[in-house]
């Protein structure tokens, strides 16, 4: 299969470094160009990547490289609609970050332009390509625990806002400045916006849809953030499965301008754990374990060193296949809309202090 000629936009998303590695190494991709949001970002890019031209203007990049077939939108959420429209106008396929937008009118506009242009738009939810999740999915499908009664999932991390400031900006993360609730000085746009995976996984594993959600926020760990960093979510799926999700930034970090060694204060910077209780048993899973451990440089602090799986291989395989064969990705805009609705319902629940029914 001919490698897909791909570009990368903005370079400000938390997964940007992962894409540097993926785009450079995948035999299925031919990395043609990149476009940085600003000079500082371009400087970081040029220190990390050689041989790929980096522009500051997206139109200029596309004009100079008409061979570009697809683009990774590695940008703030607030940039996504504009970039999807720009790609669709040029017939460029889109690999979108995990939150296309929280504004459902914008979201529907994205669906409209993508479908009108006939381009592929795949949402990056890499846990679909994680081997532990695949095992869990298989066990559930085989009936290992019987009908699912209950599911708990954590997607807890450190906060990326110091390296990726847009994730602490209500306008750039959530898309607008909406107070969490009356009398709360914080705004929508924090940890919840960073962690759609668990909302997606429960739909995928149960095959059911949300019936209701309830969410509550704790006082912030990081008192200088204007978005939420600790919250809990529970609720019920239409099939009766009850759930509890923790999408918090509950692991403290050093405030590094660039992610790197020594980022962690808590030894483990990220966790996606699942527990599924069924009629015939229970299973628990750590989607990123087991790992190795050290207390060496730079801070001599006990640290979990991840033995990462490379979910991006499967993700790129699917994306390239969809583009070449003309298939619709599993995680497409229409599938993902319900996940975004559920996350919005969490914010509404926080404001109302009550569960929100779908």
């Amino acid at each position: 299969m001919k490698p897909l000629k791909i570009a990368m936009l903005s370079l400000t998303h938390g997964h940007t470094r992962k894409y540097f590695q993926t785009l450079a190494s995948s035999p299925k991709l031919d990395w043609v160009a990149a476009c940085a949001q600003d000079e500082a970002v371009r400087g970081r890019f040029e220190r990390a990547v050689q041989g790929v031209p980096c522009y500051r203007d997206e139109e200029e990049m596309f004009d100079r490289h008409p061979e570009i077939e697809a683009a990774v939108l590695a940008s703030a959420n607030s940039e996504h609609l504009r970039q999807v429209e720009a790609c669709a106008r040029r017939g460029v396929h889109v690999l979108s970050m995990k939150i296309p937008t929280f504004d459902l009118a914008e979201y529907d506009r994205m669906i409209e332009v993508v479908e009108a242009a006939g381009v592929v738009c795949q949402i990056e939810l890499e846990l679909h390509y994680n081997p532990v999740v695949r095992r869990v999915k298989r066990l559930v499908a085989e009936g290992a625990v019987g009908r699912i009664l209950s599911m708990q999932a954590t997607n807890i991390t450190l906060s990326p806002v110091w390296a990726f400031p847009w994730q602490g900006s209500p306008e750039q993360s959530y898309g607008s400045r909406v107070p969490l609730s009356d009398g709360d000085a914080r705004f929508r746009g924090g940890a919840l916006c960073d962690h759609p995976h668990v909302f997606d996984l429960i739909r995928w594993l149960t095959g059911s849809d949300f019936e209701s959600v309830y969410a509550d926020v704790a006082p912030n760990m990081r008192t200088d953030l204007e978005v939420e960093d600790l919250l809990l979510v529970n609720g019920r799926m239409a099939d009766g499965c009850t759930f509890l999700l923790d999408p918090s930034w509950s692991r403290l970090e050093e405030r590094l301008p660039e992610p790197g060694p020594g980022w962690e204060v808590f030894p483990k910077r990220m966790e996606v754990n699942l527990a599924i209780g069924g009629e015939r048993g229970t299973l628990v899973a750590d989607c990123f374990g087991p790992n190795v451990y050290h207390n060496g440089a730079p801070n001599d602090r006990y640290t979990v060193q991840y033995t990462y799986f490379d979910e991006w291989i499967g993700l790129v395989d699917e994306f390239v296949d969809c583009v070449r064969v003309g298939r619709t990705p599993q995680i497409n805009l229409r599938w993902h809309r319900r996940t975004i609705e559920a996350m919005n319902a969490c914010y509404r629940s926080i404001a109302a202090g009550q569960p929100i029914a779908f």
């Binding site: 625990v145 009664l149 209950s150 708990q152 209701s212 309830y214 509550d216 926020v217 704790a218 006082p219 912030n220 760990m221 008192t223 600790l230 919250l231 809990l232 979510v233 529970n234 609720g235 019920r236 009766g240 499965c241 009850t242 759930f243 509890l244 923790d246 918090s248 509950s250 692991r251 808590f266 030894p267 483990k268 754990n273 527990a275 209780g277 069924g278 009629e279 015939r280 048993g281 229970t282 628990v284 899973a285 750590d286 374990g289 087991p290 790992n291 451990y293 006990y302 979990v304 202090g353 009550q354 569960p355 029914a357």
Partner: protein, 266 residues
């Protein structure tokens, strides 16, 4: 309905402690642990795990025990909070899975709600629960002062499986937990691979050697009652509150609402 069962090994263990430390109990007593109803116990003081006493007001001579408060791990977690080693507390994440026999769903909630309030030193003021078929509950509670806590409760383990639980306290400065970072289940002190197979042991109390952590804590809590009988009324009030919190969780699930805990309930 009150269900208790005499437990001679534990009674012997408790008698040994009383004798060793020359503690004079306030009267005749016995420990109970599910099963046989106490009936008319006369002057006998019945010491029963609170979670097994399903009525808010158990028989007059029955003292509800909160044995988990005597487990070393919870004592140390509480110390970390009380001494502000981790501070200020912002969020608690508790989970407990059982096979539903000895510890059914309501009993799990009873224990975990007590731990939430006792470890944090703060009363629960709101409860939102989502349950499934009496075997699973996912509860979010709000404490006075804005701390939130999750209680993941499940009676979905196969029969005979050991309890699996986890308690994590998240503070602005520090996180405390009774589970090792990057693990999912409890670790043991001793692992033995022998011709007889694989065995694990976790011995926590040399004076009560041979009892597992839960049984040792049950004896310690009963010992505490006999040493401090003056606290019995407070223990019964505490039991009443916990029963009401559990009922409120069930009501929240039925009504699909977050419910407010009015006053001190009891």
């Amino acid at each position: 309905m009150t269900e208790t069962r005499a437990c001679p090994d534990l009674n012997d263990a408790l008698a040994g402690l009383l004798d060793k430390y020359a503690v004079e109990p306030p009267g005749p007593w016995r420990m109970a642990d599910g099963g046989e109803p106490p009936g008319d116990a006369g002057n006998l003081l019945t010491l029963a795990p609170g979670e097994s006493l399903t009525e808010p007001d158990p028989p007059e001579r029955t003292v509800p025990l909160l044995p988990w408060r005597h487990q070393r791990r919870f004592v140390e977690l509480k110390r970390l909070v009380d001494e502000k080693t981790v501070s200020p507390l912002l969020m608690c994440r508790f989970a407990c899975l059982t096979d539903g026999r000895e510890t059914p769903l309501a009993a799990i909630l009873y224990r975990e709600f007590d731990l939430v309030e006792w470890l944090s030193g703060t009363p629960i003021v709101g409860i939102c629960a989502s349950m499934a078929e009496g075997r699973a509950a996912n509860v979010i509670v709000r404490l006075a002062g804005g701390v939130i806590a999750s209680v993941e409760a499940g009676a979905t383990l196969p029969a005979g499986a050991a309890v699996e639980d986890r308690h994590e306290l998240i503070a602005r400065r520090g996180v405390a937990s009774d589970r090792v970072v990057d693990t999912q289940v409890a670790q043991s002190s001793v692992y033995a691979w022998t011709d007889a197979g694989h065995r694990q042991h976790t011995d926590v109390d040399a004076e009560l050697f041979g009892l597992d952590a839960e049984r040792a804590a049950l004896v310690r809590s009963a010992y505490d009652v006999l040493r401090h009988p003056e606290l019995t009324p407070a223990r019964r009030r505490r039991h009443r509150r916990l029963r009401q919190l559990v009922e409120l969780a069930y009501a929240s699930d039925r009504r699909r609402e977050r419910l407010t805990v009015e006053g001190d309930l009891a």
